[in-house]
C-alpha cells in the first residue's frame, strides 16, 4: 500500500514530477552520451592504428617480437596456412618479411625499414594501394619498390629513380641491391612515412637471402572481439612453445593501451565533475519539492501519520522519480547513440585536417557497449538515493505546527 500511495503522490502534481524526473533524465543522458563518445573515439583510434599496420593479431616466429632478428623468420608452410584459415574470426592473412637496411642515393644514406609484402593480400588488409600519392602500387612481378613520403623526401627520390639498399641478411649473408622506385605512399604517422620501403615479398626474400621465409603473418580480423577468439584458438592449434608466437594487438601496441588507461583516468575525473554538478541540480529540485510540500507534510503528521511511514513514502516517491528519469534517459540516449553509431558525424574544417594528418578518418564515432548505459544509470540512481534522504530527514525533524503555517 505504501507503494500505491507513493505512486499516486507523484502523479498528483505532474509539473513537479516532470521537473524532478527531467533533471535526473538530463543527468543520465549527458553522462551516457559522453561515455559513448569517449569509448567510441577510442575504439576508432585503436581500430585505425591496428588496421594501418600491425593488424589485430600476428603469427611470428617464437621469440621474434622482442628483438626482431631475421634469424627467427619461418616458412609459410601449408599446415600453418590451414591452421590460420581455420581459426574463428580470421578472414584472411598477409605475410611479411621485415628487416632494417641502409638506404642510399648518391651521398645521402638513411636507415630504413624494408617490408616485403604480398601486394594483393597487404592491400586487402591495410588498404595500402589507397595511400599511393605518386606513381603506382606494387606489382609482384616487378622488383620495384614503393617508398614512404618522408623517406623519398629525405633521399630526394622521385618516381623512376634508383634506391640502393645494403644490409646484413639471413644467416649473415651480404644483402645488397638496387631497385627502381615505382610509387610513393603517404601515411598519417610521420615516423612511419620517413622510414618505410615496401617491396614484393619475393624481392625482399632474395635481398635478404631468406628464400621462402617470412617474419610475420598478419591476420585479417574485423574487430577486437573476434581478435580475442582468434588468438585463443591459435594458441591451441599452433606450437607456441617452440615454433611460433601468436600476438594480439594489446601486446604489439602497449602504448595504445597505456594511452587508453591514461585517457580513461582523465575521463573519470571529468565524469566526477559532471556528477557533482548534476547532483546539485537534482538536489535543488528535491529541496524545492520538500519546501513546497511542507504544509502537506505538516497536516499529515498532525492528523496522526507516523513520521517513519511518511519518511518512507517520500523516499519511495523520490526513487520512483529517479527511476522514471533514468529509464527515459537510457531509452532516449540509446536511440540517439545508436543513430550516431550508424551515421557517424563527419568532422569538418580544421579539425578534419588535423585528423587527416594523423591518418584517422575525420568522423565522430560512438560505442554502443551496454556497460556504458547501465553503469551511468546505476551511478545516477545511487546519487538520487542519497539525495532522497534529505526530505526524509526533514520529515523526521519537522514540527507539524510550524509546518502547517508555512
Amino acid at each position: 500500500m505504501i507503494l500505491k500511495i507513493a505512486w499516486r503522490n507523484i502523479w498528483r502534481n505532474k509539473r513537479r514530477t516532470a521537473i524532478t524526473a527531467a533533471s535526473i533524465f538530463f543527468a543520465v543522458f549527458f553522462s551516457v552520451i559522453m561515455g559513448a563518445i569517449n569509448r567510441g573515439m577510442f575504439d576508432k583510434m585503436i581500430d585505425d592504428s591496428v588496421n594501418f599496420y600491425t593488424g589485430y593479431a600476428q603469427v611470428t616466429g617464437e621469440g621474434y617480437w622482442e628483438e626482431r632478428f631475421l634469424e627467427k623468420s619461418f616458412e609459410l608452410s601449408p599446415e600453418l596456412i590451414s591452421n590460420i584459415e581455420a581459426s574463428p574470426g580470421v578472414e584472411g592473412f598477409a605475410p611479411r618479411l621485415e628487416s632494417y637496411a641502409l638506404a642510399s642515393v648518391e651521398t645521402i644514406t638513411k636507415s630504413a625499414l624494408v617490408v616485403g609484402v604480398d601486394p594483393e593480400k597487404e592491400d586487402a588488409l591495410t588498404g595500402l594501394s589507397q595511400r599511393i600519392v605518386a606513381g603506382t602500387y606494387l606489382n609482384k612481378e616487378k622488383d620495384a619498390v614503393v617508398l614512404g613520403e618522408g623517406l623519398a623526401e629525405k633521399l630526394k627520390l622521385g618516381i623512376g629513380d634508383t634506391i640502393v639498399l645494403i644490409s646484413q641478411g639471413y644467416r649473415g649473408v651480404n644483402a645488397a641491391g638496387k631497385y627502381p622506385v615505382k610509387g610513393i605512399v603517404s601515411f598519417g604517422a610521420p615516423d612511419m612515412s620517413a622510414k618505410i620501403i615496401y617491396m614484393p615479398l619475393k624481392t625482399a626474400q632474395w635481398f635478404y637471402g631468406a628464400t621462402e621465409l617470412v617474419t610475420t603473418v598478419v591476420l585479417d580480423i574485423p574487430n577486437k572481439y573476434a581478435a580475442e577468439k582468434a588468438v585463443n584458438s591459435l594458441n591451441t592449434t599452433l606450437d607456441t612453445a617452440k615454433t611460433y608466437d601468436v600476438l594480439g594487438w594489446q601486446e604489439m601496441m602497449p602504448e595504445i593501451m597505456e594511452m587508453k588507461s591514461m585517457k580513461e583516468s582523465s575521463n573519470v575525473i571529468v565524469m566526477f565533475i559532471l556528477y557533482f554538478i548534476i547532483s546539485f541540480g537534482v538536489f535543488g529540485v528535491i529541496l524545492m519539492m520538500t519546501k513546497e510540500r511542507q504544509r502537506e507534510f505538516g497536516v499529515l503528521l498532525s492528523i496522526g501519520m507516523k513520521r517513519k511511514q511518511l519518511a518512507i513514502i517520500t523516499w519511495i516517491e523520490t526513487m520512483f522519480l529517479g527511476l522514471l528519469g533514468a529509464t527515459i534517459g537510457i531509452v532516449i540516449s540509446y536511440a540517439l547513440v545508436y543513430y550516431i553509431y550508424l551515421n557517424p558525424i563527419p568532422i569538418t574544417g580544421d579539425m578534419a585536417k588535423a585528423y587527416a594528418d594523423f591518418g584517422i578518418e575525420a568522423k565522430m564515432c560512438v560505442s554502443v557497449d551496454w556497460d556504458i548505459f547501465y553503469s551511468q544509470a546505476i551511478t545516477v540512481m545511487l546519487i538520487t538515493t542519497i539525495l532522497a534522504l534529505y526530505p526524509c530527514i526533514q520529515i523526521l525533524k519537522m514540527k507539524p505546527i510550524e509546518a502547517m503555517r508555512a
Binding site: V164, L165, I166, R171, G172, V173, N174, A176, K178, G209
Partner: protein, 248 residues
Amino acid sequence: MKNILSVGFFLLGMVVFSYGQSAKEIVQKMDDNAFGGRLKSNMKMTIVRPKWSRTMELKSWADGSDYSLILITAPAREKGITYLKREKEMWNFQPSIDRTIKMPPSMMMQSWMGSDFKNDDLVRQSSVVKDYKHKLLGKETIEGRECYKIEMIPNEDAPVVWGKVITWIDTKDYLNLKTEHYDEDNELVDTNYGQKIQEMGGRLLPTKMVLIPADEEGHKTIMEYISLEFDATFDTRFFSTQNMKRVR
C-alpha cells in the same frame, strides 16, 4: 779458487745464452714464417652454426701486413665482393650495387661477411712482435707436437683490443698451433687453432685455421688454404680502390 768461480760463472753464462731464444724471438720466428713477404692464396671459409653451415671461396693478395686485397669468388650471390686494406684503412666493394664503401672505425668490431672474424681481424694493425711483452710459460704438447706456451701482454699504447693473448708455438717448425685471446677482464673471448700442417707454396704451415668464439655454443669459422704462393709479385697499383672493381 777465484779461477774456478770465474770459470764456473762463465760456463753458467754460456748455458743460459745457448738455452735461448727469448719468448720474443720465438714469436718473431713464427711471424716471419707465416706472414713474411708477398702472399697470394686461394682459400675456403666455412661458417659453422648449430643449425646450419655456409661455405665461401675467396682469393687473397697480401703485401706484408700493410696491404691486402680479398676477392670473394663463390657462392654466386657474393661473387665479386672485394675488401681492400691499405695500412689502417679498409674499403669494401659491392658489385651488385656498384658501390665502394670506406669502412669506418665504428664498423671494425662487426662480423666480417657473417663469420666469427671481425673486420678488425683483417685489418690487423698490430704486430705480434712489436706490440706485446712476451713471457715463456713453459711447454705443452698439442696434437703430438711439443709447443712453447707463451703469454703476451699488449703494451700500454698498442692498438690491441685484447687484455692478454696466450699462444702455443711448435718447437720444431715455429708454427702457431693454438692461440687464446682474452679481454681486459681476463675472460676468454676466442680460441684459434692451426691444423692440417702441410707443405704449401714451399713452406710448412698449418693450412687450416679454426676460430671458435668462447661464448657461443656450436659456433666456429674455418679458413682453409687451397693454394699458396709466397714471394708473389704485384703491380704497384694493385692495392687500389680502382683495382677493387677490376680484380678477378
